[in-house]
Symmetry: C2
């Protein structure tokens, strides 16, 4: 996302006026939304349209086991959904409007879990996780539904888990970008110990913004909680997207002043 | 500034995932800065680099009678500086990165006066005036410096002037876009009656944001007043630029939902 500064001459009445054009790069940050298990891309569109306002390109998609590929629901594995996410990421990163050095991943629940894992496989600069789910690492190719059927999952989500004891947490531990972590105070599916594990894991993050939405359940059923989450996400992305562009413009101006000083 | 929504298919493992790309237009709003008499484009660069952060293309330039063309100072007329401004506007509006339906003009003092007049000659969507100067309409081709030498100017700037009694005020009266008007409480050059005349003239503006910076003089000599002005300007432009892009994305999403509903 490189801003450009050019000294230009503008002709008028036979003279040339000195002018300076300062423009943002012609590419935009890319924001990839990953819905939760049982969700769909439609819900993400509400947030995507606000994020487009910041000057970002948004991609939403449906994981296998949902919508068009609902028939695969009982069979689809984490490995397959991870491949879905990688394919969506690659599609977005290849888009000519997208600055591939400025890609955000925004995941909810199972989508947050996959998003965390993606950071070890693809460059992710900004990572937003709402109520990210967690599963033991084993049986990576087993049907995803079988994981939730496992009675030990309930206890696993109440445990304190070290970052090196779970691949998603290990990914967070290694993550060096900016993080938004949003938890729901009344979440029975992904209770607070899970988000606490995530929060502790982000030891090397460039920044972390961690919030708990009071009174919200896992699905953010109430409209006001949805609104609060959207506002948090958009304000976090606004700071990063606008801040990055401004930083780049600041650099371009400083470089130009330096060149003038050196008499170039 | 039209956002685009496209339904796309993303291939993975022999299936196609349903996905939606929501992207801002590949053009940016254009922001044209007009410095005051005795000023130069360099001062505007500080603000321009922040405005680039919003995702806008900024152009600053030096009016004739300044910098490279300082020798013309005693001869240059309003007519010539108006031609300078038109030339700069046209250059910006022709730039391939610029959305010519979303051009802002940001003028200070004499630059604000010229900016107000420009709205009758070129499409301006957003107009920001800081301490806009005012002059009687006559002697349009006389040297600009002769206007300030006229002893009646002092009284003219203390009078209540109707919008139809001055071309710049008439331009403001006809202006239908959004307005930011910033006055300095301790301005001796452009005292409050002038900015009050401007404010009253903007009867048909889509919105008006009018502020007085307490303790500031005409030149905004103190750093804190400069900072306040920059913050006001950037926050005003942020609302408009981001709001317009978001509105456009919202429309794109609504249109897509409508198409789906109709079974297209």
């Amino acid at each position: 996302m490189e801003a450009r500064l050019s000294q230009v001459d503008i002709a008028v009445d036979g003279v040339e006026l000195g002018a300076t054009l300062l423009s943002p790069a012609a590419t935009f940050p890319g924001v990839l939304f990953v819905h939760g298990w049982g969700g769909s891309q439609v819900h993400d569109l509400v947030r995507a349209r606000e994020v487009v306002g910041l000057g970002a390109v948004c991609l939403t998609f449906d994981l296998r086991g949902h919508e068009r590929h609902l028939a695969l629901k009982s069979d689809v594995s984490r490995a397959q959904n991870m491949a879905d996410l990688e394919a969506a990421y690659d599609w977005l990163a290849m888009h000519p409007l997208v600055d591939r050095d400025a890609i955000a991943v925004v995941g909810i629940s199972y989508g947050g879990y996959l998003g965390a894992l993606l950071t070890t496989r693809r460059p992710v600069r900004w990572l937003a996780l709402r109520s990210p789910a967690i599963y033991p690492d084993g049986d990576w190719d087993a049907p995803k539904v079988s994981l939730n059927a496992d009675p030990s999952l309930h206890g696993y989500r109440r445990d304190r888990i070290a970052a090196d004891a779970n691949l998603a947490l290990a990914a967070c531990h290694a993550f060096a970008g900016d993080v938004l972590l949003v938890a729901a105070s009344d979440d029975e599916i992904v209770p607070r110990p899970v988000t606490n594990n995530y929060e502790r894991a982000f030891e090397h993050a460039r920044s972390i913004t961690s919030r708990v939405i009071d009174g919200a359940d896992h699905a953010f059923t109430e409209k006001q909680h949805q609104t609060q989450y959207t506002a948090l996400l958009v304000s976090w992305l606004r700071e990063l997207v606008l801040g990055t562009r401004e930083h780049s413009a600041r650099q371009a101006v400083a470089d130009a002043k330096e060149r003038i000083k050196r008499g170039e």
